[in-house]
């Protein structure tokens, strides 16, 4: 118990680090993944901006990156991380690496959500005289918002999971805390406390996401 109290500052810091990494990665990979996903969904054949060459390139690139185990991918882009952040240690470096990796996953989530949008609705927008970019912004994304929000919620949970891995290779956060202060010192209460914290974090995120999705779907 004494040890637990002694480690409290580190624990609080770890929570903040995790939240910091999660928020930065969620926003950054969310935006980049949205752009990539929209590009995938609209350039495929029959899409608003159907373009076989662009689609093939994007598709292949995403397919190459996605199956690489996350922890290896993060290590592999270390030179890029140093170029952008200046270091590979710490939450900012972790958030950057995570954002890059997650963006590719997000692009698939976005693509799936948007491909599910009724083509007839897009045709109605075309018939009303709207151009492709306007249709993407005012019809495609709003119509796919329900599944998109659920997808982003799924992503949030995935990112929390990934922060633990980033933590293990120098990113800080709850994963790092659980291993350094818990597992490596055979201090199991610390491990369980961390697990409980992560569960709470995930639950809160999932509930919030579900509530938002319900609003978007009006169900």
């Amino acid at each position: 118990m004494d040890e637990l109290i002694a480690d409290l500052p580190q624990y609080v810091q770890a929570i903040w680090d995790t939240l910091y990494i999660v928020v930065i990665s969620l926003v950054a990979s969310g935006v980049v993944g949205l752009v990539l996903g929209v590009a995938l969904a609209t350039t495929r054949s029959g899409g608003l901006l159907a373009n076989r060459a662009v689609y093939t390139v994007l598709n292949v690139v995403v397919n190459i990156v996605r199956p690489i185990p996350f922890i290896i991918f993060v290590t592999a882009i270390d030179p890029l991380t140093i170029l952008v952040v200046g270091t590979t240690i710490g939450p900012t470096a972790g958030a950057f690496a995570l954002s890059v990796a997650a963006a590719f996953a997000v692009s698939r989530i976005v693509e799936q959500s948007l491909v599910g949008v009724e083509p007839g609705v897009l045709e109605a927008a075309r018939a009303a005289g709207a151009g492709p970019l306007r249709i993407i912004a005012t019809v495609l994304i709003p119509e796919g918002l329900g599944p998109l929000v659920l997808g982003y919620t799924f992503l949030f949970v995935g990112i929390v999971d990934m922060t633990a891995q980033v933590g293990a290779i120098g990113g800080g956060g709850l994963g790092d805390f659980a291993i350094t202060y818990g597992a490596q010192r055979y201090n199991w209460p610390i491990v369980y406390l961390t697990v409980a914290t992560i569960i709470v974090l995930v639950q809160v995120g999932q509930f919030a996401g579900n509530a938002l999705a319900r609003r978007a779907l009006r169900r």
Binding site: A125, R126, A127, A128, A130, G131, V139, R218
Partner: protein, 337 residues
């Protein structure tokens, strides 16, 4: 009267599949042009050529003075605003309210907010849904959804409305309501309507002319009455029979033959005053006893149309003379065998 839509020798292929094969069709301004055919006949492709959602592989499409088939996409977008379109599945934006749906084409056109709100209110009033302005589409019935679709299609005061199977997802009563609304759109607002459907009843209710499509071609095109009264192709005759049940089927003929020993003839009822009296006199003059065994007379385009089947009893020669006499006076007679 001049043609608002001119479709000239248009073909459309998707790879090896031929959707349209040399279609020529003019749609007069202010009329309702019906286009009927089974699924896969090319109707939906045809209607999408008119507002440039699809481009022909060959041939030309004109709307007013604009050659739709030759314009770049950017110019087409401006013109599409002047052409309304409604769909089988309504295709309303679920992410927007009823008012938001109707406002969409106006937003695209950059109409200022106040003006937009005014027009949306007027349009919703026209289709009878002003009290639903702030509802979402999923709170509406199918018929109401299509009325929203119509209001949205009318948002930019188009001269032309394209209706792609607009009533095919609706029950018969709602279909009648929506057709009545389209009729008002044509009569009160003076819009030209191209009505694509596989339901002859819809054509019968509001079309002025009807084109019959089969295998990517227009195989018959004429005034509503003419096509109903004297279809010239088997496909057109089949569609007419889905609405008019005035000619006996082969089974019915067999049953009639079993109970009536004499000749069975079917006479087409023309738009001619006193026709049935004329017939009675002809039967009597040839010493033939007739019995009306099948048929009916209905109204198409406010004119009578129908067929009557008689069992005749009399001398063989007298019957032959009668048939000759009838044909001489342009009566359309068929001997049922």
């Amino acid at each position: 009267m001049s043609a608002l839509v001119r479709i000239q020798e248009v073909s459309k292929r998707y790879g090896d599949a031929v959707a349209l094969d040399g279609v020529t069709l003019d749609v007069e301004e202010g009329t309702v042009q019906g286009v009927i055919g089974y699924s896969g006949a090319g109707k939906s492709t045809l209607v999408r050529l008119i507002n440039g959602l699809e481009r022909p592989t060959s041939g030309r499409v004109f709307v007013g003075e604009h050659e739709i088939s030759a314009l770049p996409e950017r110019r087409l977008r401006e013109l599409r605003g002047g052409i309304g379109m409604i769909f089988q599945q309504f295709n309303l934006f679920r992410s927007r309210t009823v008012a938001g749906n109707v406002a969409y084409p106006l937003t695209v056109a950059g109409v200022p907010r106040e003006e937009r709100d005014r027009r949306v209110a007027r349009l919703l009033d026209f289709v009878g849904l002003l009290d639903r302005a702030h509802h979402h589409p999923e709170q509406l019935s199918g018929g109401q959804k299509q009325r929203v679709g119509i209001a949205r299609a009318l948002a930019r005061d188009p001269r032309l409305l394209l209706a792609d199977e607009a009533t095919s997802a609706l029950d018969p009563e709602t279909t009648a309501d929506v057709l009545a609304l389209l009729d008002r759109v044509n009569r009160e607002l003076g819009l030209t309507i191209v009505l694509i459907t596989h339901e002859m009843e819809a054509i019968r209710s509001i079309a002025d002319r009807v084109a019959v499509m089969e295998g990517g071609r227009v195989i018959e095109n004429g005034d509503l009455y003419d096509v109903f009264a004297t279809p010239t192709t088997p496909a057109a005759a089949r569609f007419v029979r889905t609405v008019l049940h005035d000619r006996p089927s082969p089974d019915t003929v067999a049953r009639l033959r079993a109970s009536h020993p004499g000749r069975l003839i079917t006479v087409r009822v023309p738009d001619r005053k006193g026709f049935t009296a004329e017939l009675s006199r002809a039967f009597a003059a040839h010493g033939i006893a007739e019995q009306l065994v099948f048929g009916g007379i209905s109204e198409i385009a406010e004119r009578p149309v129908g067929a009557l089947t008689y069992a005749l009893e009399g001398q063989e020669a007298a019957v032959r003379d009668l048939l000759e006499a009838l044909r001489r006076t342009d009566v359309d007679v068929v001997e049922e065998d």
